[in-house]
Subunit: 117 residues, 2 copies
Amino acid sequence: MAEPEQCAYLCVHQGTVDQVLEELPPDEHLYDLAELFKIFGDTTRIKILYALRENELCVCDIAQLLSITQTAVSHQLRVLKTNKLVRARKDGKNVFYALADDHVHKILALGMEHIEE
Amino acid sequence: MAEPEQCAYLCVHQGTVDQVLEELPPDEHLYDLAELFKIFGDTTRIKILYALRENELCVCDIAQLLSITQTAVSHQLRVLKTNKLVRARKDGKNVFYALADDHVHKILALGMEHIEE
DNA sequence: CTTTCATATGAATATCTGTTCATATGTTAA
DNA sequence: TTAACATATGAACAGATATTCATATGAAAG
């Protein structure tokens, strides 16, 4: 598809479009970026991340804290871990989770800042 | 449901849980925060936002630039506008969109930083 | 080794969300 | 006013995703 049908539109400001096109990051990066925000874009996961902001917690701590099922927590922790937003530490029967790094803190803080404006 | 069944778990570290519970923002805030990130969590919307980073663009500019339908762009712009991430300026037949404020820039930048680490 | 408890996982379901198609609205020029 | 174009909107469909239920794994205690 070398000739997208968008050419049907005559109003295109070609100069600006060409310039933006040059500055636009590769599709793959933009895809990854959307994937990252998608992880933050769920109430349960946001609650989990916020709960882990200052303390590490085990799975059933989180379940009780947020009044949700252990299974639901476990599923979401897997998503968070797969995407490197939390890390796990095993201790006997328990698995303690914590935020993976400072970026996670920063993203949460910046988002909250936007909300509260 | 004053008594959630999570009490069936005996492992709960009650002290920590109570402390976290005190520090946790109200549910409503966390919900809003998730909603905000949800907007960023879509490839099409991220592309649009990135395209608007330095220039305002009209709807069909964006459609051509990203090789997507005018309708799809329009729908997503509505989402972005409703959530105050972009603003619109009407000029004759055209409607030019731009990022709403600096928070949007910052969130995009921080996310990209995380991706590239 | 059997029981109990903490966590993980797979499948099924229900909900949500993005795109498309058809069409409406609104603007400019002839 | 009519024609041509830019944008918006509604309904329908398809794909994605979060929760639940049932069950599996794995670790400590008896």
